[in-house]
């Protein structure tokens, strides 16, 4: 019996050698991306083939790690585990992560300071390139895109779109369950909606964004969160960013917070009724970029930098980020606009004009507040 088991083990070992996926003789560039499926699509369908064509012998492998900060967290976990195990080189070459985790990765020394080594690095100069939710990330990140959370509504059912959170509360009271959001466990559009709520109802909203952190400010959020609990009694809670869009499309809700880029992409794809419209609320809704980062010990660091260089080049930012996927560009707009029709550029601002975006688009809270707010939400709103 024992020998049989051993023979079996040897046979199994031999079989592993022929397993699919065990190709050799080429550079596999592992790109791990957090976020929704559109992030993976962007790399597998657009960026990857373009890069492979320009660099023979390189194969781009994109892996999606899931929506929201959870997706970024998984990338952090992977890097951290390999660091703990003392790996000489990590198996993630390029990662696309959210702000909160980018800050944490920089603090933990998991990332390479590569922006200066990439020719497009100087084209990104906006605030988020240097500061990720209160953490200095200057040099470690280049924004892939910027995006904004907005309120999507069905104009057939919502005659006057809400201008403020108070209007929303009134709408939900008059139309129970016709407003929907995805809370804080199901993707960032819901998280951002909650932050926007606090920007409207917290006693010191500016402190959440600019700091400094103190426990008293967190405690002062309790009444606003209790108000949210009452509000949630009148709304539908959807499963995730996509869940809100889907519920809108299926007529299950008439209004809800969504990512602007997903909204436009779904409309372009026939997955969302073309009637639906977007708006922002007076006290502001948050937006955020996603960052390209290169891990400190990336196995193919040089190829990785080349990849980011292509991804942040003005042409790709214009054709890929803006035209194809409806994101706001990651590098500065003046570099990008020249490669685009005015019509395409204006499409981004169809429902939400640039001045509205400027006035009502806010950053997310600083990361300490970010975490605490999530916990307080679970404690106060969900129990």
């Amino acid at each position: 019996m024992k020998r049989r088991t051993m023979l079996g083990a040897v046979a199994a070992g031999a079989m592993f050698a022929f397993a699919p996926g065990a190709h050799a003789q080429q550079v596999n560039l592992n790109v791990m991306t957090a976020g929704d499926q559109n992030m993976v699509d962007y790399i597998t369908e657009y960026l990857g083939p373009m890069f492979e064509k320009a660099n023979p012998g390189v194969k781009v492998r994109a892996v999606g790690t899931g929506p929201g900060d959870a997706g970024s967290q998984r990338i952090w976990e992977r890097l951290e585990a390999q660091k703990k195990a003392g790996a000489a080189a990590v198996d993630v070459d390029v990662a696309v992560v959210h702000q909160k985790m980018a800050g944490m990765m920089v603090k933990d020394g998991l990332l390479a300071k590569y922006r200066g080594q990439v020719s497009t690095g100087s084209m990104a100069t906006n605030d988020v390139t240097k500061n990720a939710l209160g953490v200095n990330v200057d040099g470690y990140v280049i924004p892939m895109f910027n995006s904004q959370i907005a309120i999507a509504y069905n104009p057939d059912k919502v005659k006057t779109p809400p201008a403020s959170y108070d209007d929303l509360v009134a709408f939900a009271a008059a139309n129970p369950k016709r407003f929907g959001h995805n809370g804080i466990r199901g993707g960032m559009s819901g998280v951002g909606f909650v932050f926007g709520w606090l920007y409207a109802y917290a006693p010191q909203p500016a402190k959440l964004i600019d700091g400094p952190y103190d426990d008293a400010t967190v405690a002062s959020l309790t009444p606003a969160l209790q108000k949210m609990k009452a509000f949630n009694g009148n709304v539908t809670i959807t499963p995730g960013n996509a869940g809100t869009l889907d519920a809108l499309n299926r007529g299950e809700i008439d209004m809800g917070p969504v990512w602007m880029d997903m909204f436009y992409s779904w409309q372009a794809d026939g997955k969302l009724s073309p009637n639906l419209k977007l708006t922002l609320l007076k006290t502001g809704l948050p937006g955020q970029p996603m960052y390209y980062v290169v891990p400190e010990k990336a196995a193919n660091a040089a190829v990785a930098r080349k990849f980011v260089e292509l991804a942040t080049s003005p042409q790709v930012q214009a054709k890929g980020i803006v035209e194809r996927f409806n994101w706001l560009p990651g590098i500065d707009a003046n570099h990008v606009q020249q490669f685009l029709d005015k019509k395409v550029w204006d499409k981004l601002f169809k429902d939400v004009p640039p001045d509205m975006l400027k006035a009502m688009g806010k950053p997310m809270p600083q990361s300490d507040y970010f975490t605490k707010i999530q916990e307080q939400y679970e404690k106060i709103v969900l129990n």
Partner: protein
């Protein structure tokens, strides 16, 4: 007449080693982690936070799983009972063909099916509206804890029904026939004669289902990640989004206590019966 004590141990060792190395050992890490804070000092703070944030979900997890178990028990006895006592050969054949299907559907596929099937304007409600059973204004979605129960029952009933029907088929027909001749109704035969004899099989099926439901992440995550939800969702959230392994491990500890209790209850019962035989 089987292998003696030493050979028995030897035969079990390879499987045990695999479980020990790849499960017990990492599990030990995580159990220890339930009682440690981020710096590695001993604490009960993780359980405090778990209680603070997730006591409602803990209760709901128990409710969801127990309600599912009760429904699974009901439907599997009904299916097994009809297959054993039913009179129409044709109806039995159809039922026998139909009921097993969900057994072969992976959980993640089941969750994907249900997401669109039982949504407010999903196919189930639309069909009911089409037949005039429901009015379009009355429809409601089930993408919450009810959807989780629905999916669990849908997926696990065939598993238990298969076991129960097998046990029922192996019963002595003479008692059943005798009871029929005395004029007992089929329902009474099922409840008073058949079910008591297959209760152990039913219990094993339910324990396995209980345990499976406690550890499935995809179904509650895809159907409803909101509160009230299940502990698996909270654990995934704690680890994935907050990076808080301590609380996640504490929640794991709680859910292990639950499943351990269920399994131990069954095994004790089984041992007593064995001893009494």
């Amino acid at each position: 007449m089987g292998p003696n004590r030493n050979i028995s141990i030897l035969l079990t060792v390879p499987a045990l080693v695999v479980v020990a190395l790849l499960f017990i050992y990492p599990l030990g890490f995580s159990l220890v982690g339930a009682f440690q804070d981020k710096a590695g000092a001993w604490t009960l703070g993780n359980f405090g936070r778990a209680w603070d944030l997730y006591r409602l979900d803990t209760a709901f997890t128990v409710v969801i799983v127990l309600v599912s178990c009760a429904l699974i028990a009901f439907f599997s006895v009904a299916i097994g009972g009809y297959l054993t006592l039913g009179e129409s050969r044709v109806a039995k054949a159809i039922l026998n063909f139909v009921y097993r299907w969900p057994l072969f559907i992976p959980f993640i596929v089941a969750a994907q099916c249900m997401r669109t099937f039982i949504a407010r304007n999903g196919m189930m409600n639309m069909t009911l509206v089409y037949f005039g059973i429901l009015d379009l204004d009355q429809v409601q979605g089930f993408l919450d804890w009810r959807g989780i129960v629905f999916t669990f029952v849908w997926k696990q009933t065939p598993f238990v029904a298969l076991m129960v029907a097998g046990a029922m088929a192996g019963l002595d027909r003479a008692t059943i026939e005798a009871a029929r001749n005395l004029g007992a109704s089929r329902l009474r035969i099922l409840v008073e004669i058949v079910v008591p004899q297959v209760s152990r099989t039913l219990a094993v099926g339910l324990v396995l289902s209980f345990v499976t439901m406690m550890s499935v992440l995809s179904v509650p995550l895809m159907l409803s990640g909101q509160s009230p939800s299940m502990l698996t969702v909270n654990m995934a959230w704690r680890i994935n989004s907050v990076g808080d392994y301590g609380t996640a491990n504490a929640l794991g500890f709680v859910s292990y206590l639950m499943t351990g209790f269920a399994a131990w209850f069954y095994l004790r019962h089984g041992m007593r019966e064995r001893a009494g035989r």
